[in-house]
């Protein structure tokens, strides 16, 4: 099995970097999957940039790399040619102080102007938090303004009405329809990537579970895969299957949650009540299988800590089949409700072209007709045996995102059954590979329930983390949400928002 993801690195001179990225962007038909920097000024006197694309045909990551002089780090902005690079450039601007010339937007993302001073770059190795704390904050943030007669703004957040994370939405509307939506996020910024740099790879596994709680297992899985790739570890088959089962369980409880959430956002309470019992049952199942409702503590470098024994198998299979029965019932209730269908059908359309340009990934991309799922690309050994096929819808509306969830829920149940059979055949092949720490850098990735979680990590010879770049699917997908609501009425925003259900903590880091 290619549990270890393949990567090809292309070294480009700084002046060739932009052209090389653009060439790959077109040739591979891939958005920028992640784009980040690393401070190597002490070792080599440079900031190194990495721009990562996905080569679906070769089933590999293609990484373009360049070094910028540490004293004056600047690069031509890629975002005018490749929109999907834009947010990453803003992030590198605020975290490293790298300048992106001719960039259409240089505002900071997570370091809010109201609380953070100018000229302090947290991901630089010589960053001093004490100095930053003494300096005065930058000032006020500038929203994009829409002017014109009768146009008004509706600011929402950061504290929302529901029990949910914080973020700010600024609507510009003329009458009912939304003309522009600008999200301002970063309210849950905790300095995650910097904190990784103080840890050993072993300790960092449990920390990775605390980055985005509803994807705790996916995060630790992606992180472990990165480290396993550096250490050259082959994860035992049994452990790979167990990981896949838990990835699907995580997908199922979140999909159930969102399907219920979409119903309640149009004021349809019963489906939500029913779906929340499915979620609760799956969380309780997680606890019975692993001791943790959110599957924390299961992943470890080289494999897993928790086995699914023969005695647990009936519990697992009965639980997922019962969940399927309720979800099928729910599917019938929702699809036969005219008023519900009226609200979701044709609402919040994200066009395929827009989704591709923005680099929207995962579930939201598949609902807009983009067939891309890392399970198909990198996880052939387990998912290939399950005859996995990505769930794709063409319409790109709320209904399409609802249906992708129903389809994936159904597929997960089928695959868990198949995987349980595979576990019998895998026998007692062990749950973990032994290892010795090594220096190196690699990408670990997984198709989590929202989409690909991509973690690039570098270790030193003792296994200490020197840099850890996390890319959550939400990071680019928030822009997809902003485009999907255009022309829709503000009261439909909660519904559109829930149909994406993006992560605040995964985005803000």
């Amino acid at each position: 099995m290619m549990d270890i993801n393949r990567e090809t690195y292309i070294e480009a001179a700084p002046e060739r970097f932009a052209a090389e990225c653009l060439r790959l962007h077109k040739r591979l038909d891939s958005a920028v999957m992640t784009y980040f920097a690393e401070d190597l000024r002490k070792e080599l006197g440079i900031f190194r940039l990495y721009c990562v694309f996905l080569d679906k045909e070769k089933k590999a990551w293609t990484v373009v790399r360049t070094g910028l002089p540490g004293a004056d780090a600047r690069m031509t902005s890629l975002s005018k040619e490749m929109f999907s690079a834009g947010l990453f450039e803003r992030e590198m601007g605020e975290m490293f102080g790298i300048k992106f010339e001719e960039s259409p937007d240089t505002r900071r993302l997570s370091l809010h102007d109201e609380v953070w001073p100018k000229g302090y770059y947290p991901l630089r190795k010589d960053f001093s938090p004490d100095d930053a704390a003494r300096a005065a904050p930058e000032g006020d943030y500038c929203f994009n303004r829409v002017d014109g007669e009768g146009i008004f703004e509706v600011p929402v957040g950061p504290v929302h009405a529901g029990i949910i994370g914080p973020g700010h939405f600024r609507f510009s509307a003329a009458g009912e329809p939304v003309i522009n939506l600008e999200t301002r996020l970063g309210f849950t910024h905790r300095g995650v990537e910097k904190l990784f740099e103080t840890m050993d790879a072993d300790n960092a596994v449990s920390f990775s579970e605390k980055v985005s709680g509803d994807s705790a297992f996916s995060y630790s899985c992606a992180f472990c895969r990165g480290i396993e790739s550096i250490y050259g570890l082959e994860v035992p088959l049994r452990a790979s299957i167990i990981r896949a089962i838990f990835i699907e369980l995580e997908r199922m409880y979140n999909h159930a949650n969102d399907i219920g959430g979409m119903a309640v956002d149009v004021g349809f309470g019963y489906p939500n009540a029913l779906a929340s019992t499915v979620k609760e049952d799956l969380l309780a199942l997680n606890r019975m299988l692993t001791g943790s409702r959110y599957l924390k503590g299961v992943n470890r470098i080289g494999g897993v800590n928790a086995d699914i024994s023969g005695e647990m198998k009936p519990l697992l299979l009965d639980s997922v089949l019962r969940a399927r029965e309720i979800m099928n019932e729910l599917n019938g209730i929702l699809h036969s409700s005219v008023s519900f269908m009226d609200r979701v059908d044709g609402t919040g359309i994200l066009k395929k072209k827009t989704a591709a340009d923005l680099g929207v990934t995962g579930l939201a991309a598949r609902a807009s007709g983009i067939r891309c799922d890392l399970r198909e690309i990198f996880d052939g050994q387990v998912y290939g045996a399950c005859r996995f096929k990505p769930a794709v819808q063409e319409e790109g509306d709320v209904l399409a995102r609802l249906n992708v969830r129903f389809d994936e829920f159904e597929a997960s149940v089928g695959m868990i059954n198949k995987m349980a059979e595979m576990l019998d055949k895998a026998g007692k092949s062990g749950l973990k590979a032994e290892y010795i720490p090594k220096a190196g850098a690699a990408i670990g990735s997984i198709e989590a329930w929202r989409g690909p979680v991509i973690i690039w990590v570098r270790t030193d010879p003792s296994g200490r983390i020197e840099r850890c770049k996390i890319t959550d699917p939400s990071f680019k997908n928030w822009q997809g949400l902003c485009f999907s609501v255009l022309g829709n009425i503000i009261p439909d925003f909660p519904l559109c928002n829930k149909s994406f259900d993006l992560s605040y903590p995964g985005n803000d880091l």
Partner: protein
């Protein structure tokens, strides 16, 4: 409509008497009844909470929502979550308090009427937890607001959240 009724009748009442299994002692139901009485007297029949997330990973939030699902049904004891701090007797705060949220948390507190009870939930909310020492966290809710009760856990389970709320009102 028919299918909803049918589905509803088939399921019956799902709310679990929280007495077997789980880490919570069997007296929870009796405690719940007591809580109901106290809420009636002290808060005019209902105890309203405004949840504020200041940078949690989302697991605490998920468990707070779970406490209101039909299985735990926290509302049956007279506790409910409201959309505005103006309607709240208490704030339930999760997360290590990102610098970006400190001002919003204070404003939410200012907007709440007396008695302004503050409950923090989750290990991060106590002292920053896993994010202690970060350049961008205040290091727990206590650094920003006076906290009346802390609910430990990463995340605290719905049973633990319910139990802690019962203890607060005792």
């Amino acid at each position: 409509m028919n299918n909803i009724l049918k589905s509803r009748l088939k399921r019956g009442i799902l709310t679990r008497r929280i007495d077997a299994g789980g880490p919570v002692p069997p007296e929870l139901e009796t405690l719940g009844a007591e809580m109901r009485e106290r809420i009636k007297k002290r808060f005019g029949r209902s105890f309203h909470i405004r949840q504020v997330d200041t940078g949690s990973c989302g697991a605490c939030v998920s468990e707070i929502i779970a406490a209101t699902n039909p299985i735990y049904d926290l509302q049956r004891f007279g506790v409910d979550f409201v959309a505005s701090p103006r309607h709240a007797d208490a704030l339930l705060v999760t997360g290590p308090v990102s610098k970006n949220m400190a001002a919003a948390l204070r404003k939410t507190y200012d907007a709440a009427p007396e008695p302004k009870i503050v409950i923090s939930a989750g290990d991060c909310a106590l002292d920053g937890g896993a994010f202690k020492g970060s350049y961008y966290t205040a290091g727990g809710v206590r650094q920003v607001l006076p906290v009346d009760l802390h609910i430990p856990g990463c995340p605290p389970s719905p049973e633990e959240i319910i139990k802690a709320l019962l203890a607060l009102l005792k």
